[in-house]
């Protein structure tokens, strides 16, 4: 990012520092955490470094390497701080700490900043942290959201969220969770953890935004931004697959809900409202992921989304391909939900009678008894086959379990259509 001004008359004032903050603060933080070995210390150092920048840059001009300047400044402020608090710590511990921070090994230039950002992501998503702690920490440290923004987005009390982050940092410190990028051998599992966090954040934004509450921060955009960063730093196929999947979901946002906030099914969506730039990017990413020959769960889900994205009309959707992809996904992830989705795709390929058989077979084990979408899917097929009273009963079972307002209204509308006489 080029920060040199168009005109040399521009002073290096607060706006310039603000710009650098937005562009570089996360990278600087990631490096400071490595150098200082502590999240809180690093955050304080970051704050102090930018304070120093606000004081010195207007006088001295923008440094040629703002990031290195900030890291240096932060590091020395931290050492200063430790010396100032010297009377509270035993002398040998103090000397050790200062030495470690000022260590020659800690050359800012040599360590790639990408490595530090990856270290930060993997540490925040370490499986030793509780899942909701991973999410909170990632949004706070990697994405730079404030505690209030995160709390609001997840409809939690800010104090609760703040505590969660405090405890997570304490766990990192006490249990000695290392600030490292996992070894190649551990990478698939650890990457899995990161991808799960990103997808959870995305889904929170994806569904929450269609509700009545106005979310200040767009979580879906944040998740996509995070995934982009991850793919840039670590272009593993599943990371690419997840980014593709989220872009393809996101591309349909404008078409998913009516002006009144009602749900519009995929088959009824106005495809001209789909974001074709996001689709193009998503499709390219799917191709890229598939080309690696490492086709995992996210890549398959993205490939399924890609089939929908490629269809100019609902009618022209290649359901054969979708069912085949679900077959592959089911082999990888034999979960009842995947089996259900496959059954629904099958109903589109082979017709409602075959579909109903498939859906009921999946529901037979009872594993999906509390899953509203299973009952909704069954209800829809019964409706299409003309078994109206059974359909209504199934819709009612779905209604008893549904939690999202737009989905509730959709199901209620279906029940009304069926009970107020046939069309």
């Amino acid at each position: 990012m080029d920060l040199t001004p168009a005109s040399s008359a521009t002073p290096w004032g607060p706006e310039a520092v603000e710009r650098v903050y937005r562009a570089e603060s996360r990278r600087v933080l990631a490096t400071l955490i490595r150098l200082l070995g502590d999240f809180d210390l690093a955050e304080e150092a970051l704050h102090d470094a930018f304070k120093a920048a606000l004081e010195q840059w207007p006088r001295e001009g923008l440094p040629s390497n703002p990031r290195a300047w900030l890291v240096s400044a932060g590091r020395f402020k931290a050492i200063d701080g430790i010396r100032r608090n010297a009377r509270f710590a035993p002398l040998d511990e103090l000397a050790e700490r200062v030495e470690a921070i000022a260590d020659e090994r800690a050359q800012v230039e040599q360590e790639s900043v990408e490595d530090d950002r990856l270290r930060l992501i993997f540490t925040c998503c370490h499986p030793a942290l509780a899942p909701d702690a991973q999410i909170a920490l990632t949004l706070r440290e990697v994405c730079g959201l404030t505690t209030e923004e995160i709390a609001r987005a997840f409809l939690t009390a800010p104090a609760t969220l703040a505590q969660r982050i405090v405890r997570a940092k304490a766990k990192i410190r006490t249990a000695r969770i290392p600030y490292e990028v996992p070894e190649r051998r551990e990478l698939p599992q650890r990457l899995d953890s990161v991808l799960r966090v990103i997808y959870l954040v995305f889904n929170e934004g994806y569904s929450a935004s269609s509700g009545a509450t106005l979310i200040r921060h767009d979580l879906s955009a944040e998740a996509i931004r995070l995934a982009r960063l991850l793919v840039e730093l670590l272009p593993e196929s599943e990371a690419i697959g997840l980014l593709a999947l989220m872009l393809l979901h996101e591309s349909r946002r404008a078409a998913r809900t009516s002006a009144e906030g009602d749900l519009i099914l995929l088959e009824e969506q106005d495809r001209t409202l789909w974001d074709h730039e996001q689709i193009a990017e998503g499709l390219a990413l799917v191709d890229r992921a598939v080309a690696t020959n490492q086709v995992g769960s996210y890549v398959l889900q993205a490939a399924i989304a890609a089939v929908h994205a490629r269809a100019p009309t609902a009618r022209s959707t290649d359901w054969h391909r979708i069912v085949a992809l679900y077959d592959a996904l089911l082999a990888l992830e034999p979960s009842p939900v995947v089996a259900l989705n496959r059954a629904v795709a099958l109903s589109m390929r082979d017709g409602p009678r075959a579909g109903l058989g498939a859906v009921e077979a999946v529901m037979a084990s009872g594993a999906l008894d509390d899953y509203h979408l299973a009952h909704a899917a069954r209800a829809d097929l019964l409706r299409r086959l003309g078994h109206l009273s059974e359909a209504v009963e199934a819709y009612r079972r779905a209604l008893a379990l549904v939690r999202q307002e737009p989905e509730r209204r959709f199901l209620e509308r279906r029940v009304r259509e069926l009970t107020e006489g046939s069309a």
């Binding site: 370490h126 030793a128 006490t174 249990a175 000695r176 969770i177 290392p178 490292e180 996992p182 551990e186």
Partner: protein, 113 residues
């Protein structure tokens, strides 16, 4: 501290023995790396005695402190650089395949070193 929990009722004698053998090999390896501090299997919970002192009164009862599905059956005390290193060791303990190994950082009190 690596605390090893497993269902002691579900461990036949020959399996127990092969676990010991595998553990001994792991311990040797840890020794050469300078990571081994201590380790031992424990006698089953039927041999346990629980001691509590309340208001100056000593309460001694038969059995472990609580009845649980998996019981504490052994421990390792190792010197690991960080949690990931400790996890890697824990994952090599034979009973991690049947039970659970809890990894707990030890509070290092200077007076105890």
């Amino acid at each position: 501290m690596l605390l090893i929990y497993f269902d002691e009722t579900a461990l036949p004698e020959d399996e127990r023995q092969s676990c010991y053998d595998e553990s001994l090999r792991l311990i040797e390896e840890l020794r050469t790396k300078g990571q081994y501090i201590a380790a031992s299997p424990l006698h089953p919970t039927s041999t346990a005695t629980s001691v509590r002192v309340r208001e100056g009164k000593r309460l001694v009862t038969d059995g472990p402190f609580a009845e649980t599905r998996e019981q504490l059956g052994g421990y390792y005390l190792v010197d690991a650089r960080d949690l990931d290193e400790a996890i890697n060791i824990a994952a090599r303990i034979p009973m991690s395949r049947k039970g659970t190994v809890e990894v707990r950082p030890v509070i290092e009190l200077p007076v105890l070193q």
